[in-house]
Symmetry: C2
Subunit: 409 residues, 2 copies
């Protein structure tokens, strides 16, 4: 019992969805529940309703599209990802996983095949965390890692609380029934672009994800003193920017990993008052650390604290932990089913470790969980130039359909 | 023939004006022609009209408060400064020079003394340049250094062109007559807080300004590539932020001046897209260089260009000159009159060189020009903690009144 997905329909749907928040440079700027993201949700809902599927929305803004099973009381087999993007992000990150799952549901529906378990496509809210920090918020609340109250109280970069945006989403989707947080899944499979170069470099179509590296996020705040830039001699200055630069250079040395496994990024940086004639009195920056080994992340955390303390003078500096996610490994029936399906379909595949964090990170302890990757051009993601080919997209979605069918039967 | 200024009235007026744009931290946030700055202009106009003075406004938004002379056809003796502030600026920078001049006009008016030349208090528009860059814009246009068209077309940080703000100012001050740009002055004297530590450290009340250092402003733009921070190995990154940090560290070494005469400041810095999970694709920062010797500034300019080129890899970087002001020296009748008045009043004084740039920089070639400084606490300026004492403020204003009287007789 197999179904074949429609690769043209799937590609066209990617191009349609890329219109919501489209940038002049060919990418997408669609931050969690902003105007474009709300439009994307509505477009997905319209497709789903047109196919006769039901909609469910939970209290943190996760959307579920459900094809009923023979036994509606069984937990659903779920697949999906997210539809928000980074600022100046790409057309495939997140939305590919959603559209692959929706295509699986649609092709199964149109084939007439009945499954014992219900099938669901999930659209996790706020995976990127670029409007509301931290990311993977919808999945974190659903899985119980973060409290609903904390999530809803989060204030966006634009000053709007997530609570108001979730309310707007609920009003936008009056057809959606209420889904209690934490409602169990029979299994979870997430498809995603690799966001790295390995599959493309190896000429491989499918990555069977074995695990996901841990992620530690720290904020460094440097406090000096504002002074007039024309009159204040160097010896009297407490220049928060120069201290921050010294700290960053020291961190680059102290965190240098010859093997290039550790990912160390300063993605956010600001100074105050940010004026030509004023010695900066404050500087703040974000440190994003990722590694497959939790012990290594803890060692890096200690290095950051020590390095910041040693190099802040003549200013003062603090280190604040913003979030921490331990490394996870994917083992068991979903990963095995992905592997089996790829073999049956004769799609080239290999095991791969995930450098990026994804919503599925919270589920291995709750239900059988797995992920698959497809290549993306030059390994580039979080960038307008992000690209995945129609054939790779089709291959990934076919495996999602095959695995969902197998697990739901 | 002397007049005595009213020090209590002058202090109280400083405190009144500090209400426009007052910050919670005791400072002032009053950017050129923003709502608070417009209110401050209106308050100054109301005081002037109440005293029977006339108002004049020129096409770039400079305000003149005029006490008529016995011979209205003679050019006016002018004193003043500016009433805009830096973001989170202080209560004395700029406004002291305006209120000292206004106090001089008022006490001369109330003493009944007649002067041959008209006396004027000038409020230069946009000295700070923190909303509309560059600063000293009103005086630059008045003196012919910058074209009116270029100034009016300048777009503020908030997206509003200066042209609209000048129109708003004109509507706010319907009593003001039109003043043609470049109308000659008999002499110009500007009082200002020192914005440095020297007078306070020496226990001196008055600085007779001998000159002003030159100022070179450069913008560095670094272009790398946005990438996913979790998946992209270091060897594949083009991190614009890390390249900018490397450049800044190299500049600090290359521009290190053991004598601590050169002022090197990076006051503005930004990265894009400024997101936790994205390797920065762009970084931009502002370099402010000041030195009494123009040849030294030119040498520094060459060093910046060379250092940026050498340390930008693996990114690319450009250097753009935003403005340049050569060093000036104050000599002649105004400086002599300041010195004489301080001697007669037995106010402790010394010669001092100006580290900051001021509107008077453009006038030594046009009319006799001079400046005086009073101490400010701990040398701190462009900061909410900026402070000048009532007695120093009174001493400075008294000298302004004495010098204006002498030069206008």
């Amino acid at each position: 019992m197999t179904v074949t997905i429609d690769s043209d329909r799937l590609w066209n749907r990617h191009m349609e969805l890329a219109r919501f928040g489209a940038t002049a440079g060919g990418g997408v700027w669609r931050l969690a529940l902003d105007g474009s993201d709300l439009e994307a949700h509505r477009a997905l809902a319209d497709i789903a309703l047109g196919l006769g599927f039901k909609l469910f929305l939970d209290d943190v803004g996760n959307l579920f599209i459900r094809r009923e099973g023979l036994d509606p009381l069984l937990p659903p087999v779920v697949s999906g990802s997210h539809c928000d993007s980074q600022p100046n992000g790409g057309r495939f990150d997140g939305i590919f996983g959603v559209l692959a799952a929706l295509e699986a549901l649609q092709s199964i529906q149109q084939s007439g095949v009945q499954t014992r378990h219900p099938l669901e496509c999930v659209v996790w809210n706020n995976e990127e965390g670029s409007r509301f920090a931290p990311g993977c918020m919808g999945s974190a609340v659903y899985s119980g890692v973060m409290s609903l109250e904390q999530a809803l109280a989060t204030i966006g970069d634009d000053g709007v609380p997530l609570r108001d945006c979730v309310r707007a989403l609920r009003e936008l989707l009056p057809e959606a029934e209420h889904r209690p947080l934490g409602t169990p899944f029979a299994a979870l499979i997430e498809a995603h672009i690799e966001q790295g170069p390995e599959l493309e470099e190896g000429g491989i179509t499918l990555g069977v994800v074995t695990g996901m590296q841990g992620n530690l996020r720290l904020m460094v705040d440097v406090t000096g003193r504002e002074d007039h830039s024309g009159t204040t001699p160097r010896r009297r200055r407490k220049d928060a920017f120069f201290s921050a630069v010294t700290i960053v250079q020291a961190l680059r040395e102290a965190l240098h990993d010859e093997k290039d496994v550790l990912r160390f990024t300063v993605g956010r940086f600001s100074i105050s008052p940010n004026a030509w004639s004023v010695v900066p009195g404050r500087a703040s920056f974000a440190i994003d650390l990722r590694h497959p080994d939790q012990a290594e992340l803890e060692r890096c955390h200690a290095i950051v604290i020590e390095t910041v303390a040693r190099h802040a003078a003549p200013c003062e500096a603090t280190v604040t932990q913003k979030s921490s996610a331990i490394p996870v490994s994917f083992e068991g029936p979903v990963r095995d089913a992905i592997q089996r399906a790829a073999q049956l379909r004769q799609i080239s595949h290999r095991s791969i470790y995930s450098g990026a964090g994804h919503d599925s990170r919270y589920f291995p302890g709750l239900c059988p969980t797995g992920m698959l990757f497809i290549p993306c051009k030059d390994g580039i993601s979080h960038n307008e130039a992000e690209y995945a080919s129609p054939s790779d997209i089709a291959a990934g979605a076919q495996i999602v359909a095959d695995v969902m069918l197998e697990l739901a039967s």
